[in-house]
């Protein structure tokens, strides 16, 4: 939808709840260079959430929603889990269908939108937990990559099944003792970022959500590359503070530890040479736009 | 003057995979369709396999046909390959199982393959048996075994008159003259037989000739036999 279409009917605007009036007036729809830095000065696309206090997923949601380049033309596909408790509160349309079928739903959705809007970039983004992405949905996750579907897959990796109470998952660390792994997990954390690149993703990033700049860059890269080249994958460490026995304020420290040298989440990116070139051009374009905007303001 | 109208005729074809049993049933049904009769045809529903038992069915009649599936109680049975009888390459035993009273069995063979008991049972039910060496006929006329099914169709038509020669010629034109949707195995055989002939017309001609020759032979046979298809008397 163009930004011009995101508006209220004048005759009924004065009865519309404040949150919507504010969203129409100050949310960053239509600004390609929207950024996490807008948080605080503009209306965020996430209204409220029903996650635990201090949950790193809620931070990840805020960074992602403030970074996607065209929320007015973006549709999210989620899956069952904590993320699906947040989605109804988000100012972008999104689909929940079943547990694990998110990449299949996204494949159909993306193709339908291409058929219906051949001249518009309609971005489709999958956002699901590690159980949905790597365990029950792995077949459909990977097949969408093999088929070179033009959308981005984001995995919230909290290394276990959080919403059902902390059971073993494929992305859990080896040796971790959890429900359904009472003697500790017997096999290594699945190397999905590497697998994703091998399976045909053109851009892959794996990181924590401790640094908003990095998250923003990874999300923008992934969306742009998905439009032009094919599937992209971003894996974000969003520890479940509840299930690993941390306090509300300890999520950030947990992520910082995990991304320190030798940690499980030292940031890594994989991309093809073509993609590297393309992203360089995109960066240059963005810089030029920002420069022009600044000049316009000062003039 | 009362004009007799042929009653429903249910034809079961038993052969071996690759012999064209399915094509034969389709052609009979298509020809009937061209004559303004009602017809449906279908294969035995199994995996396609060369030389495995294969069955197909054609149902032809003066009124709309609803009957579906395997033909368990046929009026006419055609045996495309002697091994159906001699080696039990068939899903039913004996091969004439279920034949209706007054029915007809046509066998592709120059020898009598039936036991005395078979003859007795068929005679008791007034079933006629006609043997014709269709494969030899096919080799003579079409220069290929692949025309066996054509000779068998001709034999069936000559004896029963269930469809006439001009309609069959039209059906052949439809089946081999145009683009035709066939399953994998059938498509391969279609290609094989098309390669055998330089032109489509030659293939059609050879098929037509095989049908006509067999038709003439069985027409001659039926005059001397007690076989007569069931008819309705109409005003």
């Amino acid at each position: 939808m163009s930004k011009e279409k995101i508006q209220l009917s004048e005759a009924l605007e004065d009865i519309m709840p404040s949150e919507y009036q504010e969203m129409v007036a100050t949310a960053t729809f239509g600004n390609e260079d929207r950024s996490w830095k807008d948080i605080g000065s503009s209306k965020e696309l996430i209204e409220q959430h029903s996650l635990c206090a201090g949950c790193p997923e809620s931070i990840a949601f805020r960074y992602i929603l403030s970074s996607i380049p065209a929320p007015e033309d973006t549709v999210f596909v989620g899956s069952t889990g904590c993320t699906s408790l947040v989605f109804p509160m988000v100012g972008v349309q999104n689909i929940h269908s079943l547990f694990g079928n998110q990449n299949a739903v996204a494949s159909g959705l993306k193709r339908a939108l291409k058929v219906r809007f051949p001249d518009v970039n309609k971005d489709v983004i999958v956002l699901a937990g590690d159980g949905a992405t790597v365990d029950i949905g792995l077949d459909m996750t990977m097949q969408s990559w093999f088929r070179q579907e033009n959308f981005t897959t984001i995995c919230f990796d909290n290394e276990l099944y959080a919403n059902t109470g902390g059971q073993e998952s494929g992305l859990m660390q080896k040796g971790f003792v959890s429900k359904m792994a009472p003697m500790g997990k017997k096999f290594e954390k699945v190397r999905l970022p590497e697998i994703a690149f091998e399976a045909g993703c053109h851009y892959v990033a794996c990181l924590t959500v401790s640094k908003p700049n990095r998250v923003e860059k990874a999300i923008r890269n992934a969306v742009y590359v998905a439009r032009e080249f094919g599937p992209t994958y971003v894996q974000l460490y969003t520890p479940c503070i509840l299930e690993i026995g941390k306090q509300s304020m300890e999520g950030l420290d947990e992520m910082k530890d995990a991304e320190a040298i030798g940690g499980r989440f030292v940031m890594k990116e994989f991309m093809t040479d073509e993609v590297k070139e393309f992203l360089k051009e995109k960066d240059a374009e963005q810089k030029a736009r920002k420069k022009a905007a600044k000049a316009a303001v000062s003039a | 003057m009362s004009e007799p109208v042929m009653k429903r005729m249910n034809i079961r074809i038993s052969g071996l995979g690759g012999q064209g049993a399915v094509t034969a049933a389709h052609l009979l049904a298509m020809a009937a369709n061209k004559m303004g009769k009602y017809s449906i045809s279908n294969p035995f529903f199994g995996a396609e396999k060369r030389m495995a038992p294969a069955e197909s069915y054609a149902r032809i009649g003066p009124e709309k046909i609803y009957d579906r599936g395997e033909l368990v109680f046929p009026d006419v049975i055609m045996i495309f390959h002697p091994q159906v009888i001699t080696m039990q390459k068939s899903y039913t035993a004996p091969f004439y199982s279920g034949i209706k009273k007054g029915g007809l069995v046509i066998i592709n063979s120059d020898a009598d393959l039936l036991t005395a008991e078979d003859h007795k049972r068929l005679e008791d039910d007034n079933v006629s048996v006609y043997c014709i060496d269709a494969t030899t006929l096919a080799l003579e006329i079409g220069k290929t075994e692949l025309s066996t099914n054509m000779a068998m169709i001709g034999a069936c038509m000559g004896a029963t008159k269930v469809v006439d020669l001009p309609s069959m010629e039209e059906a052949l034109q439809d089946r081999f003259g145009k683009k035709y949707v066939a399953s994998g195995g059938t498509a391969t055989l279609d290609e094989a037989i098309k390669k055998k002939y330089a032109k489509k017309e030659q293939l059609l001609q050879a098929n037509n000739d095989a049908i006509k020759r067999a038709y003439a032979m069985s027409d001659e046979w039926v005059k001397g036999s007690s076989y007569a298809p069931a008819v309705y008397e109409t005003a």
């Binding site: 939808m1 929940h96 993306k110 339908a112 | 049904a29 609803y66 395997e70 209706k100």
Partner: protein, 415 residues
């Protein structure tokens, strides 16, 4: 309550926003479905059921078809691929499994596309989790189910047991008897299931092989016509294309965590799905020639009540019995969901004995009928065949004669 609906106009209601005469695909003309289906001239074609599915889809102005091979539907799914290559379908691809395909269909329908797919037997069961999701999400996807056996040991042969599993999914479930039914109902099915007050998926079932692989005469309209395109903005739930409000919209939310009122919302949601099934009655009447059942001579004391090709076998049995002076009437049930409760009650009001032949071992249709009829000891569930067995009309004759206490010699001709 399954009330019978009387047809008022017997016309398909068409959206006012449809531009009749505009160009569809490959130069086809968008035609009023009433003109296309009921008034335009038709020519006879001698085709297999699979070819008939292709012929219908060619005229369906279809956006998306997603395919996965399973016997016996593969041929139809592949033929629609040919249509895609020719330009008569806008998008087509092979998914990785039936579960994935049905999810992909859901995604395409969420995105506002007219979607068609096909499946059969074990594929239907593998896909099963999706069907109540389709219905609950009000996605008007059409799936052609070419029924085959489902249980171990495996069978690729026709058997209608899988339909029993579809009955409570919230989908519309129709059972085609012939290739002609299949053709007319594919096109009509889109018009019914896309009505804003219905807007539900349709499982258009036919008996695998008996319909898909049998050549039969089917009357088809010209290829220059096609249906109006699907209008996603008449949907009873928002289309997921970021072009319609509300912007803050999750399809489909589970009603958030535990409290009494959220359970009631969920219950009301389910009621609404089944209400929509009921609403389809009115829209289905024009497609099904004025009634959800067909009847012949239902004033007779003996009736055959059946669906699918069991009806065909019943017709032949009636013809054979007639030759022996035994008179039997017929009820053909066309729509299983919604179930024609009142219609069947009326049609069987005078019957003393009701035979329900079925191509499955459990007799789910007989159970449905027994559940709605007074004096249901009149219902004889059978004959049944299964696993791909054919049901010769002679076997129905046998069953009826046995039920009437008459000796029959038909089976003497076997073996």
């Amino acid at each position: 309550m399954n009330k019978k609906v009387e047809p008022k106009s017997n016309k398909i209601l068409v959206s006012e926003s449809v531009n009749l005469g505009e160009e569809g695909l490959k130069g086809q003309k968008v035609t009023d479905p009433n003109v296309m289906m009921f008034e335009s001239e038709r020519e006879p074609n001698f085709l297999t059921g699979s070819e008939v599915i292709k012929a219908a889809i060619k005229r369906a102005n279809l956006d998306v078809m997603i395919a996965y091979p399973i016997t016996p539907q593969s041929e139809a799914a592949a033929l629609i691929g040919e249509l895609f290559a020719e330009g008569y379908v806008r998008e087509y691809f092979r998914g990785e499994s039936e579960f994935a395909v049905m999810s992909q269909c859901a995604g395409a329908a969420f995105g506002g596309a007219r979607v068609f797919t096909t499946t059969a037997g074990p594929g239907t069961l593998r896909a099963m989790e999706n069907f109540p999701m389709w219905a609950g999400s009000r996605l008007p996807i059409q799936v052609c189910v070419t029924c085959r056996g489902i249980n171990s040991p495996l069978s690729i042969q026709p058997d209608t047991l899988e339909m029993a599993y579809l009955l409570e999914t919230g989908m519309l479930v129709w059972h085609a008897e012939t290739a002609q039914d299949l053709y007319d109902w594919i096109l009509g099915g889109f018009m019914v299931s896309e009505q804003p007050d219905v807007h539900l998926p349709l499982a258009l079932c036919c008996d695998g092989f008996f319909v898909t692989h049998t050549k039969d005469t089917v009357m088809l309209q010209g290829e220059e016509m096609c249906l109006p395109r699907y209008d996603p903005y008449r949907s009873p739930v928002p289309c997921m294309d970021m072009e319609c409000p509300p912007i803050r919209m999750m399809r489909d939310p589970f009603i958030m965590k535990s409290n009494y009122i959220s359970y009631m919302t969920h219950a009301s949601w389910q009621q609404e799905i089944h209400a929509a099934v009921e609403r389809s009655r009115k829209h289905t009447l024009p497609i099904m020639n004025g009634s959800l059942i067909d009847t012949e001579n239902v004033d007779r004391e003996i009736l055959i009540v059946a669906s699918g090709t069991a009806v065909s076998q019943g017709r032949e049995a009636i013809r054979l019995l007639e030759e022996e002076g035994i008179k039997v009437g017929l009820v053909k049930i066309k729509s299983i969901r919604p179930f024609p409760t009142e219609e069947v009650r009326e049609a069987t009001a005078n019957a003393k004995t009701i035979f329900v032949p079925e191509f499955n071992i459990r007799g789910w249709l007989a159970r449905e009928i027994k559940a709605i009829l007074p004096n249901n000891e009149r219902v004889i569930a059978g004959p049944h065949v299964a696993g791909g067995m054919t049901m010769p009309s002679e076997v129905i004759v046998e069953e009826i004669k046995k039920g009437l206490g008459i000796k029959s010699a038909t089976m003497d001709r076997r073996g």
